[in-house]
């Protein structure tokens, strides 16, 4: 293992950040919000996966993808296909002309289940596919682009085109995909009703748990040498190449990692919200997700989560009153953040709040040091500050 201690992987200031976020998501939110609001937060949590992935591939690797909705969507669709098949048992669909297939297929005169739907009867396969399908897709895109040294703006445009193409494909192939409505009316997971309040609580906590798992994975990556290579590559790709690294492989890896994280978010979205549709795949949601990461701070994995919350909270409250203005407001927000606070909320925290917090804590510690037993080693920061 590259890290000798947990301290090395999670230095004190990161540990504090993780703890505060965990407190907010796992304790405060469920404690103070009703289930409707909590479910909404749960939905935002699933977007946060994508933002965390973007911090890795855009913030660290310098690869701007305007098509992360594709991976979120593919993960979500894989999960939706399983749930839809379970909801389409012959008994439940007895009134259809072909019972036992999803309702939208029946409406589109399909008389049997398409071959690629068959494996989604199995939950194990579905869990595997939820990650594997988006990652494979990401790998093909990344391999084709990065091995040919396509990068920067060109790559961003290509990912955007892919998001557009996939949306058109899903909408066009109504009989196989549910078209513009998506896959709706999902009910149970292995007989467990996912629409009840208790299920929503459980799914919220599963999302939170998985988000933290992804955050730890991201923390591992950014603290490993690979994380530093990504930063180096972002700055001077050529130098990295001439230090003996095959740059394309590193880009492929981080793009696939971001896709995997996004896909987990997509699958959890389907479970919590109860449907999946092409409106989460296309260009607009993909760009929105980039804005989440930008607002949070594209170099901060925790910032990405806060960015997602803030933007979505603003979206919900703002679009209720001025729905037609929201897109303009979001565009302005993006431009404003990039120009005025290129490091987003995390940057503001680091340059204003953190120094203040440090002096505050240290002054408190030195004041009350005599009351703290030395064996806890809590007096240390004060001594360091005095140095």
């Amino acid at each position: 293992m590259p890290f000798t201690s947990i301290r090395e992987l999670l230095p004190k200031k990161d540990l504090v950040g993780f703890a505060i976020l965990a407190l907010i998501i796992i304790v405060l939110m469920p404690l103070f919000l009703d289930i409707f609001r909590l479910n909404l937060i749960g939905k935002y949590l699933t977007y946060a996966f994508v933002a965390v992935g973007l911090v890795l591939c855009w913030g660290y690797g310098g690869i701007l993808s305007l098509g992360q909705g594709v991976f979120f969507g593919l993960g979500g669709y894989c999960m939706a296909m399983f749930l839809k098949l379970e909801a389409s048992s012959p008994e439940a669909t007895a009134i259809q002309s072909t019972p036992g297939i999803p309702d939208f297929m029946d409406w589109n005169q399909l008389t049997e289940l398409p071959w690629f739907w068959e494996p989604f009867h199995s939950f194990t396969f579905t869990l595997f596919a939820t990650i594997a399908v988006p990652v494979l897709f990401a790998f093909i895109i990344a391999y084709a682009m990065f091995k040919r040294r396509v990068g920067g703006v060109y790559f961003a445009i290509i990912t955007q085109a892919i998001a557009a193409i996939l949306t058109i494909l899903i909408i066009g192939q109504q009989g196989y995909t549910g078209g513009v409505n998506g896959i709706t009316d999902l009910r149970t997971l292995h007989g467990w009703d996912i629409r009840t309040d208790s299920a929503k609580y459980i799914l919220y906590f599963i999302s939170a748990f998985l988000l933290f798992a992804c955050l730890f994975a991201a923390q591992y990556i950014r603290k490993s040498k690979l994380g530093r290579i990504l930063v180096a590559m972002r700055e001077r790709e050529d130098r990295v190449r001439f230090s003996g690294y095959d740059v394309a492989n590193f880009k492929i890896f981080i793009f696939c990692a971001a896709a995997a994280i996004s896909a987990i978010g997509g699958a959890m979205f389907t479970l919590q919200v109860g449907f999946m549709s092409p409106s989460f795949v296309g260009i607009v949601p993909s760009i929105e997700m980039v804005i989440f990461a930008a607002v949070g701070g594209r170099l901060s994995i925790l910032g990405a989560v806060y960015g997602t919350f803030v933007v979505n909270w603003a979206k919900t409250s703002f679009s209720e009153s001025f729905p037609e203005l929201w897109l303009f407001a979001m565009g302005a927000l993006f431009i404003g953040v990039v120009m005025a606070f290129p490091n987003g909320l995390a940057g503001l925290y680091q340059s204003y709040i953190q120094p203040w917090l440090k002096t505050f804590i240290n002054s408190m510690l030195s004041k009350y040091q005599q009351y703290i037993p030395a064996k806890f080693g809590l007096g240390k920061p004060a001594q360091e500050a005095a140095k």
Partner: protein, 253 residues
């Protein structure tokens, strides 16, 4: 200064034969042949646009040759990718200091340390004592022993040049290529750099591009003069200096 009489007994490290590269019909390097011996310090000089940097680009794989062959320790480099050429033992320093300014001096050197160069290796790479020791050793050598934790963008221009030389050293290449290593350095920095190069060029071949004639005289075993993509003259500094062709196109100015 080493004399050139014993070079006949040494093995050749680098063979360049009939090397040509053409950019839309313009031959930046034209049917060039060049041989560098093991442990030789060869300096390439020549007027601007003579193709000096292009030759280094061709060797390290940044530019693909139109025709010709580059053999290093028996390996044909023209068919390899950049990182494979590095693995074959070729290290290159660029004209402008090319370092990672967002990383610290330590991290800059660590990235160049030849271990964990694939994705998996980089994920499980561990900063152990061996790495630390090597980084400290190299940092001392390049006069940056007390700067390990400072971000590289705070270094002076000369220190950045040294850092990049250090990044090459930690790779321990068998062929070291330096493109204007003392450009933009003060007189005292130049002297330090010359002494540094004398020390680090043991046990490896070195190919240097340089304009500073005093510096060239100080370090070169042999000098190759390029002009319009071809070798104009080659030999010891004294010989080259007295070559009327060289005086006419380059030194005479």
């Amino acid at each position: 200064m080493t004399t050139t009489h014993n070079h006949k007994h040494k093995e050749m490290a680098l063979y360049i034969e009939g090397l040509t590269v053409s950019f839309d019909g313009f031959k930046a390097v034209n049917d060039l042949s060049l041989y560098v011996e093991e442990q030789e310090i060869r300096v390439i000089i020549g007027p601007n646009g003579a193709g000096k940097t292009t030759v280094l680009d061709l060797i390290c794989g940044r530019t693909k040759a139109t025709s010709g062959s580059i053999k290093f320790k028996g390996k044909e480099l023209t068919r390899l990718k950049e990182h494979e050429i590095v693995h074959a033992g070729v290290g290159r320093k660029f004209q402008n200091p090319s370092i990672y300014e967002d990383l610290t001096v330590f991290e800059n050197l660590e990235i160049s340390y030849p271990r964990g160069r694939n994705v998996w290796g980089a994920l499980i790479f561990r900063r152990d004592d061996e790495v630390r020791k090597k980084v400290h050793e190299i940092a001392e050598m390049i006069f940056l022993g007390d700067k390990l934790d400072s971000p590289a963008d705070l270094l002076s221009h000369g220190q950045k040049q040294w850092l990049e030389i250090g990044m090459l050293l930690i790779q321990d290449p068998e062929l070291l290529m330096l493109d204007e290593p003392v450009a933009g350095m003060s007189v005292s920095e130049r002297k330090q750099t010359a002494a540094l190069l004398q020390r680090i060029t043991k046990d490896r071949s070195v190919l240097v591009i340089e304009h500073d004639m005093q510096f060239v005289e100080d370090i070169a075993d042999r000098v190759t003069v390029l002009h319009q993509g071809k070798v104009l003259s080659e030999g010891s500094m004294e010989r080259v200096k007295s070559d009327p062709k060289v005086v006419e196109v380059y030194l005479g100015h």
